[in-house]
Symmetry: C2
């Protein structure tokens, strides 16, 4: 299930473009493979994408589906969420208009468009596709290490916590790899990553427990068969130290059979996300983030049940630190672990790519 | 969702009682909390349960729902599966008759009775309940260590592989604990365990990834609030070393926040179940089962992300070994780990209960 890479996207973000709610829209514009025809947000129509978000893009911001069509849009991507309740009627109207204007729809929301009888019928009649990105496939295998038989070098991003920049680190490394002329593939395991890939991937955290690792394995095997010898970057989720999400992370570690891992961290975070809720076990104090050393030991020893794997670098998300704090965080990370560390967004993915390539070469 | 413990069960196993297919029926008869009114299997009606299965039970084997009713059955438990395709029409007829005869239905199958419009309507009209054991609840929390705030001692059974006797070990320990007059509770996390408990529990391997640990946590917190100070035995699933199921196991480890664990193993098994399939990573050779020492280190270090936990004993499933092999397996297990080991079915759960109680007392 994916959108062809030449189809131009209209990024739909009514009243939200440039705001926190539109993170998916920004992710897609920053890293997506499909060209962007325009953004649709009447509230800031005519303004500049770069001025609003810092993203280097000349795509215009327009108000209507008709304008998007005139700019060559072949798919409408829902790049934000509305706040609670049912889908607003203007959204439904716009989606209908987009289908009538010959566009596919890419939807990362919890509500599935395929479950809407009217939209489904219209899409079928018009031969258009509704990509409900979060819906998991019906038939999934149980994992059994199939990845180890494939000719590819698999790198998984892992974290000290959830929401620390695992997807972004993978995408920056891919960018650097492609600039270097390498065959480098990205496996999306969450809805934003999938939308960046035009719908390709599986949202692993929505898959039933027994099939999470199998779904991961299936995606990697398919990719490796199409791209033998490639570098495959798997988007990580959660953390093996997270009370709620460690099961998903574990399935990704064993499903992907990584040979190398990049450990991602956000230095401004000192406790596990969500662990400071009053009802949590830590009584409001929160559970401290574990040390790099402990987490590296954990990830390497758990991955080893499939095959030997090494954490080869650290990706730090330092966007909320001063220049001085950033330098200090990177210095401390390198000192504690003896591994190269960088902020792949502030710098680029090159330092981490070099670490991966140098380790890969040492293993041949 | 559970059946009151005084309701008598009719165990439905047409054409299968005493055969491998009817494992659930046998599990319920061996360990279930509800009294057994009878078994329904026309193929062996009139024969003895003990002669067919070795289970110490005087329950008669009958042919019809009407006979079960006359014996005081208040619920029909589907204790076997049919082979492929849709539910046989005789099953449907029998289920309808059972509802008309004032029985609730307990169903552990993949097919949900609540999805059958006719059966649902009939059950509603008659005020009877359809327990679809495998269906997971709609609203589940994300785990955050809530168990650690409860007054209970939590013991999780963990494994060297899947299907090695984790449920059985928990149930034998509970039996010994109750014989000793202790307040001991069992948390069912799979469909057979749930049916033994009259429908109580959640089949964790059917829960969506993000909520597996939360579902585990929720069950334990509820149980601990009802039974303060109790010993809570959590049924484990899979293994942290299993390529397909480690995610489910990880969620159970972090969701249950155990203080002690019992490591379960089947000495006749030398490779991970399913890892010798031709398409598996091990190329048909299979992945060897890891040593006790390695697995104990893994379980203890992963549990420690929530709170300190210790593997305090080993449960060996030796039903397919000779007396000599059994003694040798137990001796080797104790020698390698320095922990007490026993086969809780051949002996009883007492040795493991003693290990748990002695560790619990040392921690006060």
């Amino acid at each position: 299930m994916y959108l062809e890479a030449n189809i131009k996207l209209a990024v739909y973000a009514p009243n939200e473009f440039g705001k926190a709610q539109a993170k998916t829209a920004e992710g897609v514009m920053r890293y997506g493979v499909n060209p962007i025809a325009c953004v649709i947000d009447a509230a800031c129509a005519g303004q500049s994408v770069k001025a609003l978000t810092g993203i280097e893009s000349d795509a215009p911001i327009v108000s209507t589906i008709a304008e998007a069509k005139a700019l060559g849009a072949g798919a409408l991507l829902l790049g934000t969420a509305w706040s609670g309740g049912a889908m607003p009627s203007e959204w439904k109207k716009d989606i209908e208009q987009a289908i009538l204007a010959d566009m596919d729809i890419v939807n990362g929301l919890h509500d599935f468009l395929c479950d809407d009888a009217k939209l489904s019928k219209l899409a079928r009649e018009r031969g258009k596709r509704l990509f409900d990105v979060r819906r998991s496939p019906e038939k999934l295998p149980v994992a059994c290490g199939r990845v180890m038989k494939e000719d590819a070098f698999v790198v998984l991003t892992v974290g000290t916590d959830c929401s620390v920049g695992k997807m972004t680190a993978s995408l920056e490394i891919r960018k650097s790899a492609r600039e270097a002329g390498l065959d480098c593939q990205f496996i999306a395991t969450g809805q934003t990553g999938m939308m960046i890939e035009g719908g390709d991937g599986i949202a692993i955290d929505r898959v039933i427990g027994d099939f999470m690792a199998g779904a991961t394995e299936m995606m990697i095997v398919e990719k490796a068969k199409k791209h033998p010898g490639s570098l495959i970057l798997v988007e990580g989720q959660g953390s093996l130290s997270h009370p709620g999400f460690s099961g998903v992370t574990m399935a990704l570690v064993h499903g992907s059979c990584p040979q190398a891992m990049i450990l991602c961290h956000r230095p401004s975070r000192s406790i596990i996300k969500g662990s400071d809720r009053a009802e949590a076990g830590a009584d409001g104090a929160g559970m401290p983030i574990s040390s790099y050393t402990r987490l590296i030991e954990t990830y390497e020893s758990m991955a080893a049940y499939m095959r030997p794997a090494k954490v080869v670098g650290l990706a730090l998300n330092t966007h909320d630190l001063s220049e001085e704090e950033r330098a200090e965080a990177l210095r401390k990370a390198e000192e504690e672990t003896g591994l190269p560390a960088c902020d792949p967004v502030r710098e680029s993915g090159k330092k981490l790519l070099d670490a991966i390539q140098s380790f890969r070469n040492s293993q041949r």
